[in-house]
Amino acid sequence: MTLPVSKIDFRENSRSASPAIVKATQNSTRTALKKRAEVVDEFGEERWQELRRAGHEVRLHALTHLNRYLAKVEQNIVAAGGKVHWARDAEEAKGIVLGLASRHGVKSIVKAKSMVSEEIGLNEALEAKGIRVFETDLGEFIVQLAGQHPSHITAPALHMTKEEIAELFREKLKIDARPVPEELTEHARLALRKEFLNAGMGISGGNFLIAETGTLVIVTNEGNGRMSTTLPPVHVAVVGIEKVIPDWESAAVLLKLLARSVSGSKITAYNTFITGIREGGPKEFHLVLLDNGRSRILADEVAREALMCIRCGACMNTCPVYNQVGGYAYGAVYQGPIGSMLTPLMMGTAIAGGLPFASTLCGACAELCPVMIPIPEILLHLRKRFVEGDAFERPSVPGGLKGMAAIGRRILGSPALYRLGARLARIFQAPLRRGDWLPALPPPLNRWTLARPFPAFKGDFRRWWKGHTATAGSKEGKTHE
């Protein structure tokens, strides 16, 4: 699932989400959140908040000085025998990887989980050249076999049951698989171990790039990140330019935040630190630094902070909307609150302007975000961009809706018109009213009543308030409107 090029219809997508996906999503996110709360509790709430503030400062500083830190990364990697490539967009990045694969005569590739490679559609590009690509993260392996795409950034196959996975393995791997997670995992281990040893190239993403020494940090629980970057003769890492951090102290802060926020571990099973090439390791190390719209986001001082994301998925886990619709509704590789920011920022609001509205702005995401991204603020910023346009984009709202909004603004802005409207609503609701409820409203108000009835307009607050203050004595309420 690359970034989309046609308009994302969140409403339509969420309507077609199967109840099974929603249920599996909720089971998974509930477990992750519970374990997260336990480790944060053990760390101590006060220290945790201090750690989050440190994480925020580190990421913001890295972004505002990104050009300097990127140059440092490049300098240090080259000094350690690695090669650095720069890619302005997805096409350039794919071109670089394809060029390397063809130069080395690569026939098969093992891949550690990388959101960036999903973003640019790297697998499809490689497969089109006849190169076999094996996703090696268990969840990614499963969705790749199924011909699907991840539904969560850290738990790609959370939407599938063990029965579905067993069926998939029976069909695609031609083995007698039973719906037992341990056995299914063993099947995947056996199938992929061969590929690790045969692959001509290993491709990874990167969790961080430490400028101080030019070190690529890869965090995995399964060990596939280590095998993909140790066994094949060539290692190519495709990493977004925003992943750079200043130094090793920053890495200590962010790794503590990341593991706890992802799934409630104090530390991820394997943290790998790679600086250029080494004796006994791959003969070549290539880093592809990908912009793909990131420098444009950086220019927007409000939206910039979305680039601080360390891809833990906690915002998705806690989001009441994500938990009702599942990952696919977001129509792109990044989903949930982080997707509602990144997709419109990268692809424009004409394509993804609906996503910032797929939020109640309840703020649960911002409360958990390990690097304190002000998610609701950025979503509001993007809603404004969608409706009114700004220095970065022209508005994308259709004319009719804009006219209605103007009328609404006019009525709500004038006390007299507002009062008249309220009175008319009480009169005109009569034919629609069923007891205390309005079960169905005419378009465009039916958007509400398609999901739930609307409470009937009753009484008159102003009149009630006048009577109330007269009897209860005028407390402080005089100035209320």
Binding site: A24, N27, S28, A32, L51, A54, E57, V58, H61, L63, T64, H65, L66, N67, L70, A71, R88, T136, L138, G139, I142, A155, P156, A157, L158, K162, P181, L184, T185, R189, L197, E212, T213, E222, G223, N224, R226, M227, L231, I241, W248, E249, A252, V253, S263, I267, A269, Y270, T272, F273, I274, T275, I277, R278, G280, G281, R296, L298, A299, R304
Partner: protein, 218 residues
């Protein structure tokens, strides 16, 4: 996008313009708020107990080994319980006094050379490493990748045994990074290879070792 510029120049130029407010001033150090004080360590005994506890919490097995005889007994137990037929170990000097090779040979275990082609370890049962540092807070061992202790040794075999001497204990990640940040390659290992990708059921041994043992050798 001016096509005569290289991708590198375009990207760095775009970034410079995007952060214009910061781009001209000298690179400032990180603000004080970005610093986080490392955890304070407990007494050596507390740290040792914590290490044992945390490794067990990660579904690993941990024990203290006091001398050569205990080492031989523990190794006999491990080889029998986990049906070890082949093993490879690091060239670290800590292993020498224990006579690992003799113990394993006596138990009928075939020894594989740990390098230089680590791929051979794909069929190996037991990989034995010596931790360059250990972080009790998280049950973590730090393994610096060297010719004699290749990365393969702790990822390909079915069982990973890491030996830790008490002097290797460090309070937090910060000190561990200070030790190894100049290396071309190192890993932090905490437990065995794990996943919860199928219905959130914790499963050990996806791609790497299925079991993880830590022996603290006094």
């Amino acid at each position: 996008m001016s096509s005569h510029l290289s991708a590198r120049e375009t990207i760095l130029g775009d970034i410079r313009r995007a952060v214009a407010a910061y781009a001209l001033s000298p690179l400032e150090p990180l603000p004080a708020k970005a610093q986080f004080a490392p955890r304070k360590e407990g007494s050596p005994e507390e740290e040792m107990e914590r290490m044992l506890r945390e490794v067990r919490r990660l579904n690993g097995q941990a024990q203290r080994i006091g001398g050569r005889d205990e080492f031989a007994a523990a190794m006999t137990g491990l080889v029998r319980n986990e049906a070890v037929r082949t093993a490879a170990f690091s060239d670290h000097p800590l292993l020498e006094p224990y006579g690992v090779a003799e113990i394993l040979k006596d138990l009928g275990v075939r020894l594989l050379p740990p390098g230089p082609d680590g791929r051979r370890l794909a069929e190996c049962d037991l990989g034995m490493t010596v931790a360059d540092a250990a972080i009790p807070e998280t049950g973590t061992v730090l393994l610096r990748t060297t010719k004699g202790q290749a990365d393969h040794l702790s990822i390909l075999p079915r069982i990973h045994l890491a030996l830790v001497c008490p002097a290797a204990f460090l309070p937090d990640l910060h000190q561990a990074f200070a030790l190894a940040k100049g290396d071309r390659h190192f890993v932090l290992v905490s437990g065995s290879s794990r996943t919860a990708d199928i219905e959130k059921v914790l499963t050990l041994g996806v791609h790497g070792p299925k079991s993880f043992h830590v022996w603290i050798c006094d």
